[in-house]
Symmetry: C2
Subunit: 172 residues, 2 copies
């Protein structure tokens, strides 16, 4: 068993998780519409990560990076959802169920979520970041620099369902 | 406090951590030489991730991706190194000390390490991956698909010290 201790907290205008169970009543087109709006809003949104004072020195030098990885915990995820095995991508029945490890769903056995976000500014203990989908109040467990040698894969292959979701919902 | 439970284990020919404290006696050029050799070897190395049986179904569909993110725990990291605040990048004195969150050092408060690796094959509970620097026996806590919409940043800015390390040690 591994123990993590939060090193900071997210402050965001996003107050509720994306596409949660309470949206099960939506039609396919409504779900995609919600996803498109959330995607567009998140892309522009600037949120804050408030680092706990004892970890302030650990941020020194982070200003040299345009992008960072943030590891955080979806504190509003109901614990029982961590035992899901398969899900329909984005909750859309038209896509066959996928194993949770093949999806970006926050519902997974160890829901340590990873986001690559733009670092707009560091102001003391506050990191201002853009494009971060974490919900307000989420505990943050690690900050890493975005090192393109590690994280930028040039021509990754993704399955058809993810290509379609990206095209339809994200407008990419 | 957050609890994680391993979902699998790394099987690798890498038996000792990269550039550990026991290499402190090395000169600058020896350190870079070691780093170059480790980088070259790791890039080609195929390792295995053995997923625990109860999580097998969660892998279904992962075969559709060429690359995955692996979150794992550096089990050989001495616990006292988690309280380091600043380090010289790669242990090289010529680079000013950086806050731990601005480096890729495994020594950090919550050492959940993240690697983007090539998925060579899935064979039941075994994932064969290429380019994975984890040490043999490392507990794995999560597997995610490499979604380029999330993780591929086109033109990230990195500081001069990281550019120099990439050029000198990684040969990029």
């Amino acid at each position: 068993m591994i123990e993590l201790h939060p090193i900071g907290t997210v402050r965001s205008d996003i107050k509720t998780p994306s596409l949660t169970a309470n949206k099960d009543g939506l039609t396919r087109d409504q779900r995609l519409q919600v996803a498109r709006e959330e995607h567009r809003r998140t892309r522009e949104l600037v949120s804050e990560i408030a680092i706990n004072e004892e970890y302030g020195d650990l941020l020194d030098g982070l200003e040299g990076f345009s992008h960072i990885l943030v590891l955080y915990w979806p504190h509003l995820l109901p614990p029982e959802r961590r035992s899901l095995k398969k899900v329909h991508p984005m909750g859309l029945q038209e896509f066959p169920e996928q194993g949770v490890f093949a999806t970006c769903s926050p519902a997974r056995p160890n829901p340590v979520l990873v986001s690559a976000v733009k670092l707009v500014a560091r102001e003391g203990l506050i990191l201002r970041v853009q494009g971060f989908e974490a919900v307000d109040g989420s505990p943050v467990v690690d900050i890493k620099p975005y090192n393109p040698g590690y994280f930028r894969i040039e021509s990754p292959i993704i399955p058809e369902w993810m290509r379609r979701i990206r095209a339809e919902a994200a407008g990419e």
